[in-house]
Symmetry: C2
């Protein structure tokens, strides 16, 4: 009787990622008949997840009957996304399509206590939910650390004041339970590394759309992180520790690293390294990342700054070339300081990567700056949306 149950999840994902702007496109993308696609769209609309605009469209331009347009429901449910970083936290309510509905930030009054910071973040998110009156279907958290699977422990929260091995997923779940957010009653607090989640967000809604093998590299405030999205799914390794690229050697005679080696990407291509190469000492206000990005953008004409940028691009390119030889991605996206570097001089980085990677064809891989604001936050939301994308019918029970 009810048509289109099996295709419900794929259909929602297509609308969610913007790949199904109309019902006709949905039909062809799903590979089903128009009848089935219509039933699927109607079902998703009944669930309150999408809206079908059946009014005659203004001007289609093309021949034939204009197709009904499909939108993510702007008044539909949201998920709660939280991100922890060196300066504190940021929370947001994120709807389907990766749209940030509301956001708030705080500094975290007791930075050394993860439970306390998470409780504050969740409280801020809960306040957003109360203010907006939106229905919440889940929650996701991004942290600037490798997150070990399956336990969800933050292994190296180096530039947080947290103890290594903090059980962030458990603490996040507990904070959610304590906050007693309506609708968020089960264990639906997903947790991941911020660069990983940023990559996921870029793949679905940003500069990574359409890529099959997407590699992301991003500097945080300290250190360098990587992420890999394969066939639309995050590859975080068997225990969540993949793409820890910070300790690739890019300068054999370089500075010593806490890992015991020297010349690691972590110490040769992060904001502190850039400030040092430019002969600046970090100031007291503003994060290292902001200081470095501001310096790069405002004083790129300064020869010393320019030389520092060139040096970092060369080192970064060496690291990326190594990754290209191993992973052979079809697109590369850079975040944090690296985004600013590739924006400052796109050609130099492409040339270095092409020169140091083995095959000309791999060297020709596109390298783009990331394109989403708060992509880690949006990625955390993607994690929370995933159960709904897998089976949209789960929304009826909650």
């Amino acid at each position: 009787m009810e048509r289109g149950r099996g295709a419900l999840g794929p259909a929602l994902e297509l609308v969610h990622t913007g790949r199904a702007p109309t019902r006709a496109v949905l039909t062809s993308e799903l590979g089903v008949t128009r009848a089935t696609a219509g039933a699927v769209a109607a079902e998703l609309e009944a669930l309150g997840l999408i809206t079908v605009d059946s009014r005659p469209t203004a001007s289609a331009g093309a021949q034939g009957r204009p197709s009904h347009r499909l939108f993510v429901d702007e008044r539909g449910p949201v998920v709660l996304a939280a991100q922890i970083h060196a300066d504190g936290y940021r929370v947001a309510l994120v709807g389907l399509g990766g749209r940030i509905v509301a956001t708030a930030a705080g500094c975290g009054t007791i930075p050394a206590d993860p439970a306390h910071v998470l409780a504050e973040a969740v409280a801020a998110g809960s306040a957003l939910l109360s203010e907006t009156g939106r229905r919440c279907l889940g929650a996701g958290l991004a942290v600037p650390s490798a997150v070990a699977e399956p336990d969800g422990e933050a292994l190296n929260p180096l530039h947080l004041a947290w103890p290594p091995g903090a059980p962030v997923r458990e603490l996040f779940l507990r904070a959610l339970a304590d906050a007693a957010i309506p609708g968020v009653t089960e264990r639906i607090g997903f947790t991941g590394n911020d660069v990983n989640l940023g990559a996921l967000a870029e793949h679905r809604h940003g500069a990574g759309r359409g890529a099959r093998d997407l590699l992301c590299v991003a500097s945080g405030h300290r250190g360098v992180g990587g992420a890999l999205v394969l066939d639309g799914r995050l590859h975080s390794g068997s225990s969540g520790l993949a793409l820890e690229v910070g300790h690739l050697t890019v300068n054999p005679e370089g500075a010593p690293c806490h890992c015991g080696s020297r010349g690691c990407l972590d110490v040769e291509a992060d904001p502190l390294a850039f400030l040092g190469a430019a002969g600046r000492t970090p100031g007291p206000e503003g994060s290292l990342l902001h200081q470095a990005v501001d310096l790069l953008r405002n004083d790129y004409a300064d020869p010393g700054v320019r030389a520092a940028a060139d040096l970092l691009i060369d080192r970064l390119g060496l690291g990326i070339a190594g990754l290209v030889n191993i992973l052979n991605p079809d697109r590369i996206i850079l975040g944090g300081l690296h985004r600013a570097l590739v924006e400052a001089d796109p050609e130099r980085l492409r040339a270095v990567v092409a020169d140091r990677s083995l095959w000309g064809r791999s060297g020709g891989v596109p390298i783009l700056p990331c394109s989403l604001d708060h992509n880690s936050l949006v990625g955390a939301a993607e994690l929370a949306w995933q159960p709904v994308l897998d089976d949209p019918l789960v929304v009826v029970d909650r």
Copy 2:
């Protein structure tokens, strides 16, 4: 009416990989009812792909009615697998389950001409088919070179006398067409890198069974290759060039490599490097790989050989640790000379990898020798079997 069409492919794959020894297990693995599993098994038997042993089993030991045993049909169809290596070629007829039914080898009379070598190999395979009278459903080829997608060109057949960029897939298809093998009328000549295909074979039938993220590293006669199997599927990158691990730097002051760098895995951990480290000069007869493996296995008591083995293990471990940090696999399998190295001293390699990889948990990843004879050949057969595994009904038309 006909039950169990959609589950046909997954069911055959379960039997093929040995994960469904009985109908009861098939039922639970597929997640379907006994009725459906029974229909699926009957259909596969009717297709001549598996046999269902419904005779009362000798002694089950367990309570309840014994389940019918499922076997790959030993008299069923086969695929033609071919492997090109430095010394010539090897061909085999491979049935479901990765079982080699018949095999033959030759040296290749005009090694510099890929078309000629491939024609000889296909002719040898065709002869095997005539002798055995088996039905052939496809053909696969393994070559010791990166194979670029989507064109199927051998980019670096370094230790073959082939020109770089030889269009091996096209040449293989042409050789198959020229041989006019009954049944192999369409374009079903699949081609891949030998280490990649070996990894696929190990994952399905060998030491890699059950691994989710499997990393393989293997030395050929010259150089080092890598492969990655993720969620049961080969990850060969967007253009087939992933896991070209030969140019990871493992010894910054090492020997120069043709890639322009120095101390690459290719020149620091291959059979030639081992013979050199042991103070031996390569002899004229036998491949470098065989000479190195023989030396290692026969003269391991010799302090010089032992020291050379330790040195290569240390370098190899450094390279593997780098890969572990990037890929976070849950199992590692070694082939070629590296297999012999890990068999000679399993603990040393594990210790090096654990020491040089970032996380203790990743350092604890199991490192095993490969377990299949001719795994590249079996992997080439896997490539050819894949269409049948995707939809077993394709066998009825051919």
